[in-house]
């Protein structure tokens, strides 16, 4: 029998989650269900029953490329081909920008290699007028929405036609016209803003919904928890996406997840229905997004979705993952590659083949090259074609106040 004095002698200890040290964790992806295994709940299913799904994984595409089970979305062949094209376009865009960085033409870039299905698929499942509050790795939203590649490149180049006038780090786009909120760069702030935007739509009796985006690492920020409280309290029409790509720069997911089993667990404490979904399965992404959007539009409140995927590339061009991540991680990732999986599916259900795929690849590559040639013709921050520095004083306020007018004149006098 232990006594009080025995207990006092026990030194206290912490569990410090282990760094990856270049080795593959044994349970890299926890709780992988078979494609088609999971039931699709009614939109108003009790949250306690949906909570039973938080250690499972919604999947539609099986290893042979067939779409199976209740989550299979109604989607035309044309829509599937468009999904494939959008993902290829994102990947080609990213590759071109990385090359531009290596060529010294841009200062910084962040690719979304391996995660393309999530942003591309959800964008197609929502409607014009809805608003995404993205992080820096959802370029697929813009590309799927048909935002001009040249405008994105002008932003990345910070050139004289940069829609953001050289004020933001490359990739921190803003495009209200395409349902894409201005990316901050401070993590997690957008999550509660998305809830506020959704609340505003409902307060005004609108029909638009919001979609909040966050990486699994940034769910540790307090704004994430504020967002879940507000979304739960007011039953805001919002989709709460957590993109679990398994890496927060160098730390594995358990630094943010703690001792919980999954990030989908986060929803249950707030009574927010939460799904875990195969993020590399374009059809599952589309179906789950559509389900969450329908719940929001039916005044059934928020839905949280943990998307399981893999950050195949580095965190950014400033990152060297070779010191912390395992080699061959992508090849061993059990959910494969989103483009290859949708391609395989099209080969099964469509007359898609290698020749058609290669033709499409050439087409998107040419589109990206043409866009980059045009963007580059307007210069870059490296060539100094960045417009007047005096524009930095614009948009601080709606109207230029006296002190900024004086400072602008001082800078102007020096030039």
């Amino acid at each position: 029998m232990t006594t009080d004095s025995d207990r006092d002698d026990t030194p206290l200890r912490l569990r410090i989650p282990q760094p990856a040290r270049g080795e593959l964790p044994p349970d890299r992806v926890r709780y992988i269900s078979a494609a088609g295994e999971m039931r699709k709940p009614a939109l108003d299913e009790k949250v306690e029953r949906i909570a039973l799904m938080r250690k499972q994984l919604v999947r539609v595409l099986d290893d042979e490329g067939r779409a199976v089970g209740e989550w299979t979305p109604e989607m035309s062949i044309e829509e599937k081909r468009l999904g494939l094209r959008n993902m290829l376009l994102v990947r080609s865009f990213d590759a071109r920008m990385l090359r531009a960085h290596r060529q010294g033409k841009i200062s910084f870039y962040m690719q979304s290699l391996g995660e393309e299905a999530i942003a591309c698929g959800q964008q197609r499942a929502l409607r014009p007028g809805d608003m995404h509050f993205p992080t820096y790795r959802q370029q697929g939203l813009l590309i799927s929405a048909g935002y001009p590649l040249v405008s994105m490149m002008n932003q990345v180049l910070s050139n004289e036609l940069d829609p953001l006038r050289g004020r933001q780090l490359p990739v921190l786009y803003s495009a209200r016209s395409h349902g894409f909120f201005s990316i901050s760069g401070n993590l997690a702030t957008q999550y509660i803003q998305a809830v506020g935007w959704a609340m505003a739509s409902a307060l005004r009796g609108g029909t638009e919904i919001a979609s909040a985006w966050i990486g699994e690492g940034a769910t540790a920020e307090s704004d994430f928890h504020a967002a879940l409280v507000f979304a739960s309290t007011y039953q805001a029409p919002v989709i709460l996406n957590i993109v679990n790509n398994h890496w927060a720069i160098s730390t594995p997911e358990d630094f943010a997840r703690g001792a919980s089993a999954t990030f989908a667990d986060r929803g249950y404490g707030f009574s927010i229905p939460a799904l875990r979904v195969d993020g590399n399965d374009y059809l599952a992404v589309y179906a789950a997004s559509q389900w969450a959007a329908e719940r929001a539009r039916s005044n059934l409140g928020p839905t949280l979705i943990e998307w399981i995927t893999l950050r195949v590339g580095a965190h950014s061009t400033s990152d060297d993952p070779s010191v912390y991540r395992p080699r061959h991680e992508a090849e061993q990732f059990p959910l494969g590659d989103p483009i290859q999986r949708l391609r395989r599916h099209l080969e099964v259900v469509d007359d898609w083949d290698e020749a058609r795929h290669e033709a499409l690849q050439r087409e998107v590559d040419e589109q990206v090259e043409a866009a980059f040639a045009e963007a580059e013709s307007h210069g870059s921050v490296k060539t100094g074609d960045i417009g007047s520095a005096l524009t930095m004083f614009d948009d601080v306020y709606a109207e230029l106040p006296r002190h900024l007018r004086e400072q602008r004149d001082m800078l102007g006098g020096q030039q």
Binding site: M131, F133, P163, L164, R165, R167, Q168, L172, S174, A175, R176, F181, S182, S184, N186, T189, Y191, I192, Q193, A194, V195, G196, W197, A198, M199, A200, S201, L203, R204, A210, S222, D223, A226, A227, V229, F230, T233, D395, V396, Y397, A398, P401, R402, H403
Partner: protein, 332 residues
Amino acid sequence: MIEAIRDAHVVAMERDERVVVFGEDVGYFGGVFRCTQGLQERFGDHRCFDSPISEAGIVGAAVGMAAYGLRPCVEIQFADYMYPAYDQIVSEAARLRHRSAGDFTAPLVIRMPSGGGIFGGQTHSQSPEALFTHVAGLKTVVVSNPLDAKGLLIAAIEDDDPVIFLEPKRVYNGPFDGHHDKPIVPWSQHPLGEVPDGYYSIEIGTARVHREGGDLTVLAYGTHVHVAETAAAEQGIDAEIIDLRSLVPLDVDAIVASVEKTGRCLIVHEATQTSGFGAELSATVHERCLFHLEAPTVRVCGWDTPYPHAHEWSYFPGPERVGRAMRELMSS
């Protein structure tokens, strides 16, 4: 002043249905200082409602609502509680217009009761205005009386940029002169307590000459407009008291005109001195009025300590400290 603030809400909400009001206890209860009393009953719970206790949530949601196209006017229950929202204020509300090149904007008002003198201790007494004036993209207003409070709050709600609206709680119920042992004179007996009905607004960025005088200029805002007035009367000094009302943008012309006239400048605020807004005022006066100055500017501020509970009247820059500084400034 509480009635004036409430009235400003009513006027703004009647004129513009995009105006929504929320915060901790502001809905059914009407706010711990009663500044939003009756709004929910009058306008419904989709225009005025209670929020969870989450300042980051309140301001973050307000940024999202403003981006949607609403005009949120939110209350932080005490200015001392705003720190969890500071990232949303500084990194988000203040910079959204600039970083998106005008694609998105954040026209919102964040009201905060501020200042001490109510035995609130270190967490119910702070005056954090300098933490906002240092941030590009914010406007910062501090009110001293009901007439201004109504006109400035209406202007703040109509403003296309985020406005920090500080309400020194010591002047909620009357023009506090700094003598805490005397009964407070209610606003009903003060000319600035006469608030017109209906709509009017006061341009943000304009100071008000609270009292004309020739001996020295006092630059003050909030409670210390009244404390300075009392101190000058007690010292028999003919002070010109400028109520700045808006710190950013700052009415430099009003400051320069007064200091050039008097040649002496006393700066008074309740917030801690080091890197306080008084430093900005002192630098402005020296940069623009040096050759008109008979003496260097003098600051009277809160000590650089946390606001103490039991010793708050030793902390609060009262009429004695302000009066002594006025005498010294006149003799230098």
